[in-house]
Assembly symmetry: C2
Homo-oligomer: 232 residues x 2
């Protein structure tokens, strides 16, 4: 379960309303049961439920912290309809660090298509579901140019293109930051691809088939997530 | 666009109602424009639109056929809610050959959760969208045991398990058949895992995080699709 702040062993953590409800009603947790908490910033604590109501209080028994070994960030043009909800949920499950919605030449994010609270909730739900340690951030929409600027320090920069290098021929670094751009449903323009190329982004292809925006995003995240697992 | 039967160059193909409507109304195609047709069985034809109404007639100018170099098949327990719709659409985009919904110990498919017509429509839409050559088949639900029997000839058999071998350590054969099992939202039982192991299925892990059923399915398909692209 997510907690804003963890505590050292011996300390106590009081969960927020949403998480308290989730534990008490959805999981039907009982007093005395053990529970695993994360702050979404690398901290993970084990503890025992002392009180369920009005808010869950957990007596912390163990705490450890880890740094992200590698960050994956998606820069994404608008997909069709509400498909971005899926991108948020799936990328959070797969451990991606951040998503930057980007305005593209052929399609921009509109105020009605940006549902920031919903995305934050989906990302947090996915964190709990996946027993992950790191929360995913969804940034406000920005231009492609400024988002690329923000990710200038990435050690590997890629963009989805059916004519690109097959992803299997890439050797992603196990550590370090990867930035990955997916165009909107209407695709990136040649000008945008040229711009990305000039900024060091390599065109990669994830499939023989043409993929929708959300599919290209999730396929990349799956590839990236699978390219480093704890057993390495 | 999908067509039940293609024709040799010089011949004519009349599209079905759905595909005719799609071309005329959604794509706003005009007479004289070229269009690419597939029968979903490896045939791809290029032709010119002769008539738009009442049904689209295409004069075929080129035809080529290919065999599937490799087949990927998913055996999948029921995910939560309507999430299987996404599995169908995304796996069809990624070029998976077939899905077998399987009844598992902890969760079975119910008549209300099986929406075969809808899935067939989603799979065909994804084929058109992705410019693929091969249609995906969605089989009726079966027991895990009988579905495994149907896939006994697969050259690689895998199942999703967070404790399994990291997928990056696998070297999937570029040709040949791969069968992959994902448990239901409630997970596979130890007994089911033992059964799969005895039938030659290897446990693989796609992420450090615990993945939902539909995420494990799509992540595998992305991995599988990316492990062989036409540029190889």
């Amino acid at each position: 379960v997510w907690a804003e702040e963890l505590a050292e062993p011996g300390g106590r953590v009081t969960l927020a309303d949403d998480e308290s409800r989730y534990l008490a009603r959805v999981c039907r947790a009982r007093e005395g049961e053990t529970v695993s908490l994360t702050d979404g910033r690398g901290g993970r604590a084990e503890g025992r439920i002392e009180n369920l109501r009005p808010r869950v209080v957990v007596a912390i028994e163990g705490l450890d912290r880890a740094d992200r070994a590698r960050r994956g960030t998606l820069l994404c043009g608008p997909p069709e309809g509400q498909r971005f909800d899926w991108v948020v949920e799936k990328l959070a499950e797969l451990g991606v660090a951040a998503i930057r919605p980007v305005h593209c030449r052929r399609a921009a994010w509109t105020s009605s298509s940006v549902r920031h609270e919903r995305w934050t909730r989906l990302a947090r739900g996915a964190l709990q579901q996946s027993l992950g340690r790191f929360a995913m951030t969804v940034h406000p929409p920005a231009t492609l140019e400024s988002a690329v600027e923000e990710e200038a320090k990435a050690s590997v920069s890629l963009f989805a293109d059916i004519g690109g290098v097959p992803v299997r021929q890439l050797n992603l670094p196990v550590a370090g930051d990867v930035a990955y751009v997916v165009g909107p449903a209407e695709g990136l323009t040649d000008e945008e691809k040229t711009f990305l190329g000039a900024r060091g982004f390599r065109a990669i292809s994830l499939s023989e088939n043409r993929l929708r925006t959300e599919t290209a995003a999730i396929a990349w995240a799956a590839w990236w997530s699978g390219s480093c697992t704890s057993q390495d």
